[in-house]
């Protein structure tokens, strides 16, 4: 992922290069149900980062040797589309995308009632169509919405965001220049209902105090993003005042 030369400063006049405050999220838009063929799907646009997610499942687990007798096999694939990065990326998995796929699966698994779907597979495909940092967290946010959209039983949605250090300042939701040239980067994912953290990574150099501050910053932002995830799901069903009952005939005659 080639980048242009480093900017002189990442923080100018106490503002970030895109004009944001240190604890300000980029504008986020989440849309549920964008891929008709999928069982569940979602699109996230976070600043310039754009990611699509499709969930297929639970479905038959093939190849059979991946099937587990007591729960579903959660199969996550994070992929960067060739034209999503400044220099074209060769199609196919890279070591980076394989690692990210795994940590995303570990971040989502605690939230899903996998044990209710023994012997099956849940496929989660996350494709980055435009990359501007924070992709693994945005992918988790979209994937949670897509899983819920698919009607898969979950304990909670998973929310995620990355924060870090740029020019000595602690900043929330880093974008490309901050991600490339900053001093540290810390993605975090959590289930807001219980406050349990399901993903945590850190890259760079941070003191204990900084880690604590960044964790608090991330958690606060995750709760905000959680509300957006819920709204996106509700919006899809456009509720009206007088909704006819959903319960027509549960075990009705069929002919």
């Amino acid at each position: 992922m080639g980048h242009a030369g480093a900017p002189e400063k990442l923080i100018v006049n106490n503002k970030r290069l895109d004009g944001r405050k240190f604890d300000e999220l980029r504008p986020i838009k989440i849309t549920a149900g964008i891929i008709p063929n999928a069982d569940g799907s979602a699109l996230i646009e976070q600043g310039e980062t754009k990611i699509m997610c499709a969930v297929y499942g639970p479905r038959e687990c093939l190849p059979k040797h991946f099937a587990q007798a007591d729960k579903a096999y959660l199969h996550c694939i994070y992929n960067m589309i060739s034209f999503s990065t400044p220099e074209r990326a060769r199609p196919g998995p890279s070591r980076r995308s394989v690692e990210i796929s795994k940590i995303i699966a570990d971040a989502l698994a605690p939230a899903i009632f996998l044990e209710r779907y023994p012997r099956t597979k849940i496929d989660v495909y996350m494709d980055v169509t435009n990359a501007n940092a924070g992709t693994r967290c945005a992918a988790i946010v979209a994937a949670s919405v897509a899983l819920a959209d698919a009607g898969i039983d979950m304990r909670d949605l998973v929310s995620a965001v990355a924060s870090g250090k740029a020019d000595g300042h602690l900043v929330l939701d880093m974008f490309q220049p901050e991600d490339n040239f900053g001093e540290a980067d810390m993605p975090l994912a959590m289930m807001p209902r219980t406050g349990e953290i399901t993903l945590l990574q850190m890259d760079g150099e941070l003191t204990k105090d900084e880690i604590q501050k960044l964790t608090e910053m991330n958690i606060k932002a995750c709760r905000e993003i959680y509300e957006m995830q819920k709204s996106a799901l509700r919006e899809k069903y456009e509720t009206e005042k007088n909704i006819e009952s959903m319960e027509g005939e549960q075990n009705g005659r069929t002919d």
Binding site: G40, E60, A69, A148, P192, G248
Partner: protein
């Protein structure tokens, strides 16, 4: 000493709820359907619509793949034939088996007849789920009426959560579709629907069903469907 319990209801009947959303607090409330209890609180575990009937808080799912239940009537497709029966796909993460003894009330003499005479690969059938093991191995039967092989016609797939709406109260919606189109319509609780009649009527019924699927939770749907069916 008087013990006070916190008792609070956060949602009302017919609210759309999302996974992890809190429905109520207090041990007096009872979770049902896709609602679950965690300590004092009750949460939804899928995308659904809340139903509040007294103390019972039920979440009716709005999405999700078909999970087989005993007694369900389903439409399935034969994917394999073995000496003991047929492997049947039922639009579920779980596949089903139709044992040779459950196919028909007639005695099948394998020395004289081919199993494919009853059901061949890629044939569709209307069947009932008679058994379900703990790891969800599914057993079907087609021994009794109206279960049978389905002849060529139109088949569409809808979300199984919309099937009750497509059938309608006391079968009213499905009757509306059949009467207006002159088609035979068979609905599988697993989301498959078979339609047989004049080709343009088969297409019209399919279109109507897709509309019901899309707008199942909106008001005025029955009138919309009536208008669509009477238009041609």
């Amino acid at each position: 000493m008087v013990e006070t319990t916190t008792e609070k209801l956060y949602i009302k009947d017919r609210d759309i709820v999302v996974p992890g959303e809190i429905l109520a607090e207090g041990m007096e409330y009872l979770p049902a359907g896709k609602a679950f209890r965690d300590g004092e609180k009750i949460f939804a575990c899928t995308m659904g619509m809340a139903s509040v009937k007294g103390r019972v808080l039920k979440v009716i799912p709005l999405a999700g793949r078909y999970m087989p239940k005993r007694g369900d009537v389903v439409i399935g497709k034969v994917t394999n034939i073995s000496h003991s029966g047929w492997a049947v796909e039922i639009n579920s993460p779980y596949n089903a088996d139709l044992n040779i003894g459950e196919a028909t009330r007639d005695y099948i003499d394998l020395a004289k007849t081919e199993m494919s005479r009853y059901y061949d690969i890629n044939d569709y059938m209307l069947a009932e789920v008679i058994a379900l093991t703990e790891s969800k191995f599914v057993k079907l039967t087609t021994k009794y009426r109206p279960y049978r092989r389905l002849s060529p016609g139109n088949i569409i797939v809808v979300s199984p959560t919309k099937i009750p709406r497509i059938i309608g109260k006391a079968g009213s919606m499905i009757k509306l579709l059949k009467d207006n189109s002159g088609c035979d319509v068979v609905v599988g609780q697993n989301g498959l629907i078979w339609i047989k009649g004049l080709p343009e009527k088969e297409a019209l019924v399919a279109k109507a069903i897709k509309l019901i699927e899309k707008e199942s939770h909106k008001s005025g749907l029955t009138d919309k469907i009536k208008a669509l069916m009477e238009a041609k």
